[in-house]
Amino acid sequence: MKWVSFLATLLFCNTALAGGKLLATPGVSQIEGSAGGGIVPWAQLAGYASEDEWSIGAFCSRGNVKNYRLDVCGVQGNLFNRIELSYAEQEFEVPALNTRIEQKVSGVKVRLYGDIVYSDWPQLSVGIQHKSLKDGKVAKLLGAGSTRGDDIYLAASKLHLGALNGYNWFWNITARYSEANQTGLLGFGAKHADKSWLLEASSAVFLSREVALGVEFREKPNNLGLGESHWRDIFIAWFPNKSLNVTAAWLDLGSIAGVDQQTGWYVSITGYF
């Protein structure tokens, strides 16, 4: 019931404290807590705060693939559309092993340049995600070198108004320097494996002001030698107003911990205050 009234409040409360951005331009919440797509952090900062405003947001997401389930909830703060602070807790369920892996991710993102709508060049941000596993047993068992790590990333994004036959077109490219295995859920690094640069990308078309349809790609390292796959998804995101976003996606996470064909669905809800 609490959830229902929470959602109802967001759906009908059109006046967020900070409404200084155009609808949908902050993006949604990615699984590590940063503003982004579902799996890729984007250059935009979370929430609708513009240069002289601040805002906070909260989200919960669930990804459900064949043999695993990931639940994430987190909060995000935006200071003057310059700095984004985020914190997320992930719970990764492995029903077959009756195991749950928990990871905490704290993030900071700084906007270096631009605005995804108005600047001539893409908006550019740099960010860090500090991750630590609560209990590194599984990670150690699989040969991971560490149970905590830091990802650093550089992201560029742009919204092209009317570019696709009159439809607004969005793209983002992120380069991430990381040694995280399965985003850190299976630890960090391994013997003979070091940090590497990984490429991530998203693209979306806005079918209306409120609805975007997009795809994402996230390159993954293979430190543990378990055939870790690149991740992909197709998403649809709905922005009924500046207080609420609901995103659904179809995931293709490939092979996880040696188990193939991890496809499934994803839903995420973000509220902005």
Binding site: K21, V117, Y118, G162, L164, Y167, H230, I234
Partner: protein, 144 residues
């Protein structure tokens, strides 16, 4: 590693949308698509009505001569949308200097323009093309 069929279909759809927009010739100007002078007047009147009812943007216009603004804004839009007009009024910097419009209020004005475009039933894609013409002007309008 192969992508799912739905992913490939989406790829195809996106590629086709890009291709179609690239080879489509534009037989009409945006000005014509808005409905020429009469359509533009309807749009600007709806926009002025939106501003008049808005507590954020209206204060900027407290001292403004609305009929002068209406005429100037219509001519400027006509010019920007490739219509048969030449805007000869003060430039964007001269007009908006001293207003200190911040990003929030600019975007809020864009929200009002979108509401006005919805009110006069401009299509989603025409709205976006109009916004694409106006967006580059922001740098000459805000924070001065």
């Amino acid at each position: 590693m192969s992508l799912s069929n739905s992913y490939k279909r989406l790829l195809l759809a996106i590629t086709m949308m890009v291709a179609l927009s690239a080879c489509q010739s534009t037989p009409t100007t945006l000005y014509q698509q808005v409905g020429e002078q009469a359509g533009l007047e309807r749009l600007v009147d709806a926009f002025i009505k939106q501003i008049g009812q808005d507590e954020v943007v209206f204060p900027y216009f407290k001292q403004t001569n609305v009929s002068h603004f209406r005429a100037g804004f219509i001519t400027h839009m006509c010019d920007v949308l490739d219509g048969p007009c030449t805007y000869e009024g003060d430039n964007m910097v001269q007009i908006h200097t001293g207003m200190k419009i911040n990003e929030h209020d600019f975007n809020h004005t864009v929200d009002l323009l979108i509401a006005a475009m919805n009110e006069v039933r401009l299509s989603h894609s025409l709205q976006n093309k109009i916004l694409a013409r106006l967006a580059p002007l922001r740098a000459q309008i805000i924070k001065i």
